[in-house]
Subunit: 332 residues, 2 copies
Amino acid sequence: MLPPVCILGLGLIGGSLMRAASTKTSVFGWSRSDQTRQSALEDGFAVSASLEEALAKAADTDALVVLASPVPTFAPLLRTINDVAPTVRLTDVASVKSMVADLVSQHAPHARFVGSHPMAGTAHSGWRAGSPDLFRGAAWVTCIDEETDIADWLPVAALALAVGSRVVPCESGEHDRAVARISHLPHLLALALAQVGELGGPLAMSLAASSFADGTRVAGTRPELIRAFTETNVPALVDALDDALGIIGVARASLASTGSLVKITEAGHAARLAFDDRGSDLTAVELTGQDLAEQLLAVGSAGGHVTHLTLKAGDPEGALVRALYPSLDGDL
Amino acid sequence: MLPPVCILGLGLIGGSLMRAASTKTSVFGWSRSDQTRQSALEDGFAVSASLEEALAKAADTDALVVLASPVPTFAPLLRTINDVAPTVRLTDVASVKSMVADLVSQHAPHARFVGSHPMAGTAHSGWRAGSPDLFRGAAWVTCIDEETDIADWLPVAALALAVGSRVVPCESGEHDRAVARISHLPHLLALALAQVGELGGPLAMSLAASSFADGTRVAGTRPELIRAFTETNVPALVDALDDALGIIGVARASLASTGSLVKITEAGHAARLAFDDRGSDLTAVELTGQDLAEQLLAVGSAGGHVTHLTLKAGDPEGALVRALYPSLDGDL
């Protein structure tokens, strides 16, 4: 089920994916950077300096092409794909999904595209920072939208499983709304906290300990990287910001008027305990049949994930999917 | 310079202090809990079941009494101190300082009081969670207010140095304003973030990774502990909340109207880098003389700290203080 994989862009994510996938299938790729190509070639990987050459090989071998370069490079890459390999299997690993789906519709409308997003990373970047274990145990979102053909989704999910990830199926918009809350908002709160602390002057900085260090850690991420995902997820992030402003504003008013923070402390603590407890109620289920897309989306929405894929004997389009799903919600 | 130490309350902080100080001076204490007393006695420490007895011994030996129980217990403890040992040397280790100074003025006005706050802790509590190394390398605030006699400040600073802390002198109000920003606000932002994430449902929880886990970590603290310090530091915390609401609100408006987050990302990243760099410009200075209090406060305000204390030969009240102070600010 896992075709050859062609990776465009060999930074932290693309480079880690090349290493991780290479033990499971044939992998090749492209990088615009001489230095990255040199490093990857030295490490024994097949990397071309010609995008057209890499894409022609992808078309010849019915490979899965992975867009792993920064989102601002996607439009020209997609136009070349549309020229050289218009109906190729295609995915991406960017941290926003609706916006990428729009770019694909616009520039490579015939590609067999399924967006994806591995929830993995480190503070470092570049080929040399990569690791074949980067994706192990991470959630890897694989998008299923109205127009998605499950036959196109299967190789993307198979790739994520092959490198050790939990496969989370969901709609592109659902993904963007979720990551606004659990990834993009945490970055903005960290950036705000860092500034409020600095306004306290050198005394505040010298007293700051683990709560401040943890709360501001991701503010150490390069500003252009934070802007790359936050500024491409505007409506969902504005909603998340409004929820945060509402909760903090109510707490501020309560503290100033009655001196009490009972509401935010109780509700926030309960929410953190629920986060610690996530996944504890998952049990194995099997999915198959004509409405596989709906079943997969139900699994993702409920906090579950796909663990195994097998093709059904004699049915090249049919798949048997094993997943983990919250037991309290009963059968699908 | 370090007198005997009498610790009232033997939880995480009091119990760690008893262990840490015991190699440097004579240490004894009191706990209201049978189980804590039993554990401490088994570990070889002198712990009384009678508060009056412990305080009488403190008065006899001119010991430094350390209030290490929760703030709500301070008023009755202070009334007993005023009855049994009214002019005793006294400090506390609570995370708010103005409010404790008010309680002491009200209930034990003759005590030789200097408030203090070790910026140390773990997620655990109780005698058994304690460690003699808890204070090593931590900032330990020692308050100097208008009415403070440096002769009373010296043993408190000596205790903090004896257990391996950096001694940060500052006014009570300065402390409260600083910790509102670098400790109390981080707790409220973590509590808000946990709730905004939970509003994203099970999908958001299953996708949450390190930025969410780090950003909500302190929301795992028990609500009554968070309320104990936030609700006793109202004006300073309201100011910090207003700064946070302002910065987040401006970012929200900018994102919604222009799609840009350039301001918050650049300023927040620079603030985090400044935090990482704190203390890099400190050089050794020596302080002494009649205006020692002013010199010490200048050190703390500038982000410096005290490293050594020695008494001056033939002058029981005179001290020589070595400290680290930002070199760019020049001489004191």
